[in-house]
């Protein structure tokens, strides 16, 4: 059996930039993103995989980054909230969330946006029911979800995330 390692070098592409870095094997992906790469838009709400505040896209799929070790992301491509408006241009979802009060404290917003982006990519014209299912893994404590569902609906109707 190989010896357990305490540090490992990983290479992860985040928002188009490659980070090659030695990390402790115990480090969670969310802490790698926040503390090592210094992208603090990905939030920690629970550290038990329940709230979705830490949601990012990994190889195109939504994951809760508090539920993975950084070393499990070796070789992966990740998009965080900072990567959405990569060219400086806000996405329709970002504009809709901001314009239609789909946030209050905003702590859930980055995770919510990534779940919504993934949903619309999979299903560009979801029903209200499908929207609610698509973001059921993301808790918002402030808004009661009404405006979040509305914002996603408006983007779907407007044709594109």
């Amino acid at each position: 059996m190989p010896e357990p390692v305490s540090e490992q070098t990983i290479s992860v592409e985040i928002n188009g930039e490659t980070y090659e870095q030695e990390v402790e094997a115990r480090k969670l992906l969310v802490h790698f993103i926040r503390d090592v790469v210094d992208l603090t838009g990905t939030h920690v709400g629970c550290d038990t995989g329940n709230c979705g505040a830490c949601t990012v896209l990994m190889d195109g799929k939504t994951i809760k980054s508090c539920m993975l070790l950084a070393i499990q992301a070796d070789g992966a491509t990740i998009t965080t909230v900072e990567g959405l408006a990569a060219g400086g241009e806000l996405t329709p979802l970002q504009r809709a969330f901001s314009a239609s009060h789909a946030l209050q404290c905003g702590y859930c917003t980055p995770g919510m946006l990534l779940s919504a982006a993934y949903l619309l990519e999979q299903n560009p014209h979801p029903s209200e029911e499908e929207i609610r299912r698509g973001i059921q893994g993301n808790i918002c404590r402030c808004t009661g979800y009404v405006n979040i569902v509305e914002a996603i609906k408006s983007v779907a109707e407007g044709g594109g995330a």
Partner: protein
């Protein structure tokens, strides 16, 4: 003295306030729906929450907390922890430089436990280290020698057990003299002839579990020594100046040496009124001479902060055959936990709103809050009125059934209106459209019942997919409620705002506003800017980050008061600034303090007003709920909610709808799923795995109507809007469940076994 804001060197993102926002937005005037000024930074990840801050040379703090609900401390052994790698400081109560205790209303809570711990999660020692993991490991090496004591866990028995605070910190403050052990405050409201008999009477005993604010961003902050003995604290909080006034004496500093700056707040709902890391972080920072950051995890957040008071309520309502209420008698027992926090005000609120928004000429209300070794309780949205609304609305439904009167008609028949007298003897003046909100909510049409079979996700229990809906029953419920707006009972409340008017580059008039009102997500930043633009008649207005360093107190973002108070203060300061500029013709910088109409204490013996009103203003709401219950599975699905709320005047209507929807969701949580569970005072479900919060699938579509009847005393006629939806929604959901099941359902949250097996 001005604050060294540049510390955020490493991560200078958009701090709360508008000045740093680089995206320009159309922001409306008072009464117009406007996009949130912090909306874009919050969607790009730029907005800096308290947990995102960093400073050069920063250490990480960690708090050692009690695993006992009640124990004597025989000794604390720190020597092993001190020698651990990366550790810079290990501190205990001996190291608290000044006052050893603090508190929102009474200094009864030790900064760090001294000779005993009184609740599970009480702070005992602090560690600062280079790395958060080093701090945690060192904390594990601190040995506290505890002698477990019998915990006081039953509030009914607390008044006969050994006192947890033998020095009775809340005595001598003008409250009813109640010599029983462990009473924080007891209060009686006696009005008219409480023995008056009606034709019918209904009775019930109701119970409310412990709810948590569960804001999504756990407590965190950064304390930075200023090099001259003082400290800057960047923290997510609700009331900057009262934080400062609690922190400074414990650090043995002058108030000016402690500067509190608002960092991004991930929700609050009352849970950030009490201090969290402020004194601890400052002690570590001053001790080490380095910036210190503390971030709680979710478990620490659950155990470290105050919750909504659990309650046991006995109620008796007497009425005439025509439905008029004759007398209400109620006894309310609240469990305050180990320290007083804001319990005394919760007691008064529970009493004042016990009868609901109805005319009651004869009443006897008793409300008592006790100390115990259960989780400490304090402020949460709705503050005493949530618990009693659940009870009085259950009673109104019972009366309607006994009298065979439509529940909405019964409420309309008894609805308070201006000119009526409350059980505290206060005559209602100003705006109070109870009948209107009831009529408007009742007129909202719920959707038709859905056919079976259907998509399992549209069944109670959702994805469980265990039935085809054979056991589903539908019920429609209704509730009304009300609550005070602003602080009450003679509290001298104020809000300061500062306005700087100056000529910009092209000579055009520009303004910078300072106000320490905490943006906790509710949207007060927009309110301040909308008021300033309206008053000054210019577009170019920025709001400086909130801080104690450069403006007076704004009071707390609580009691649905922040919009009212900030609007009042900014209006006053803007008008003064314009006047002064007009007079002097030069750039001006003026600060003004706004006060709402004065209130007076209630008589400690009778609970009746003394000298003048005890409350500034009231807001009411009514709500209709459609629920489906699967009586085989014991599961519930809310189908639809319609509500009407008295808002005075909506400053930013879109934000007001958001408050109503979000506040409703929190009431749904208390009705159906949210409860802190304890065993012998120990919390057994301190995680989001075990403490459930409504998701998108639990919150139904919500249709809200705003009733705008201007409040004469409120700036622009506005009232606060944050709390009424939370007050009324738990009661309304329960009413629907009763309609669906025919059961009494006298406890929230409702458990599956209470609605199963009909």
């Amino acid at each position: 003295m001005s604050a060294p804001v540049p510390l955020l060197v490493a991560r200078c993102r958009a701090l709360p306030g508008s000045a740093a926002g680089k995206h320009s937005l159309e922001l409306g005037r008072v009464g117009e729906s406007a996009a949130r000024v912090d909306g874009i930074p919050k969607t790009t990840g730029e907005f800096a929450y308290s947990s995102d801050l960093a400073a050069a040379g920063m250490l990480w703090g960690h708090t050692v907390r009690s695993r006992h609900a009640h124990a004597r401390i025989r000794g604390i052994e720190i020597s092993e922890a001190v020698g651990m790698p990366g550790v810079h400081a290990v501190l205990t109560h001996d190291d608290v430089p000044g006052e050893k205790r603090y508190g929102l209303e009474f200094p009864d809570q030790p900064v760090l436990a001294i000779d005993r711990v009184r609740y599970f999660g009480e702070a005992v020692a602090l560690v600062a280290a280079e790395h958060p993991e080093q701090a945690r490991r060192a904390a594990a090496k601190i040995t506290v020698d505890y002698e477990p004591l019998e915990p006081v866990v039953d509030p009914e028995r607390a008044t006969e057990q050994e006192p947890l605070h033998p020095d009775r910190p809340t005595a001598g403050h003008g409250y009813l003299d109640d010599p029983r052990p462990n009473v924080i405050r007891s209060m009686v409201v006696r009005h008219g002839d409480p023995d008056a008999l009606g034709d019918v009477s209904v009775e019930g005993v109701y119970e409310v579990g412990i709810q948590d604010q569960a804001f999504l961003g756990p407590e965190s902050g950064l304390a930075v020594p200023d090099g001259e003995g003082g400290i800057d604290i960047y923290v997510a909080t609700q009331w900057l100046h009262v934080d400062r006034d609690q922190v400074a004496p414990c650090l043995a500093l002058e108030p000016e040496q402690v500067r509190i700056h608002l960092a991004g707040v991930g929700g609050a709902f009352g849970g950030r009124e009490d201090l969290s890391m402020q004194i601890h972080g400052a002690m570590l920072a001053l001790h080490t001479g380095r910036p210190v950051k503390i971030v709680y995890g979710r478990e620490e957040s659950f155990t470290g902060h105050v919750h909504r008071h659990p309650a046991r309520i006995w109620a008796e309502h007497r009425a005439a055959l025509d439905g008029r209420l004759v007398a209400v008698r109620m006894r309310i027992l609240l469990d305050g936990g180990a320290y007083a926090s804001s319990s005394t005000a919760v007691v008064a609120n529970a009493c004042a709103f016990a009868c609901g928004p109805y005319r009651v000429d004869n009443a006897l209300i008793e409300s008592t809050c006790v100390y115990s070794n259960n989780p400490p309780c304090g402020a949460m949205r709705g503050f005493g009125a949530v618990q009693t609304c659940f009870a009085h609305e259950a009673q109104m439904d019972k009366l309607a059934a006994v009298l065979d009167i439509d529940p909405v008609e019964l409420r309309l028949l008894n609805a308070l209106e201006p000119g009526d007298v409350l059980p505290t003897g206060q005559t209602l003046t100003g705006s109070f459209p109870v009948a209107e909100v009831i009529r408007r909510a009742a007129a909202l049409d719920p959707p038709e019942p859905e056919e079976l079979p259907r998509d399992p996700l549209r069944l109670p229990g959702g994805s469980g997919n265990t039935t085809h809906g054979q056991g589903v029953r539908r019920g429609i419920g209704f509730a009304a409620g009300f609550k005070n707006i602003c602080y009450s009972e003679g509290f001298d409340d104020s809000c300061a705002a500062r306005v700087r008017l100056f000529a910009g580059g092209a000579g055009e008039l520009q303004a910078e506003v300072h106000c320490a009102g905490a943006e906790v997500g509710q949207g007060v930043t927009n309110v301040i800017l909308q008021v300033a633009r309206t008053e000054l008649g210019i577009e170019s207005v920025v709001l400086a980050p909130a801080s104690t360093a450069d403006v007076g107190s704004a009071g707390s973002a609580s009691a649905s008061r922040m919009t009212w108070m900030a609007a009042g203060a900014v209006q006053l300061a803007c008008r003064a600034a314009l006047e002064e500029r007009e007079r002097t013709g030069v750039d001006v910088d003026v600060e003004r303090v706004y006060r709402h109409p004065r209130t007076w204490p209630l008589d400690p013996e009778t609970g009746q007003i003394t000298g003048g009103p005890a409350h500034v203003s009231f807001a009411c709401a009514a709500m209709k709920v459609v629920a489906e219950v699967d009586v085989e599975l014991g599961l519930t699905r809310l189908v639809w909610i319609g509500t009407a709320q008295d808002v005075g005047k909506a400053v930013n209507p879109q934000a007001v709808y958001g408050q109503i929807e979000g506040g409703t969701a929190q009431g749904i949580g208390l009705a159906l799923m949210e409860e802190i569970q304890t065993r012998g005072g120990l919390i057994t479900n301190a995680s989001f795995t075990d403490y459930l919060i409504p998701t998108t699938l639990d919150v139904p579509p919500i249709v809200a109507e705003l009733v705008e009847d201007p409040e004469p005393d409120g700036p622009y006629g506005l009232k606060g809007v944050g709390e009424p939806p939370t007050v009324v929604s738990t009661a309304a959901v329960l009413s629907a469940l009763r309609a669906a099941t025919g059961r009494e359902l006298a406890r929230v949250p409702v458990r599956p076994d209470e609605i199963v097996g009909l």
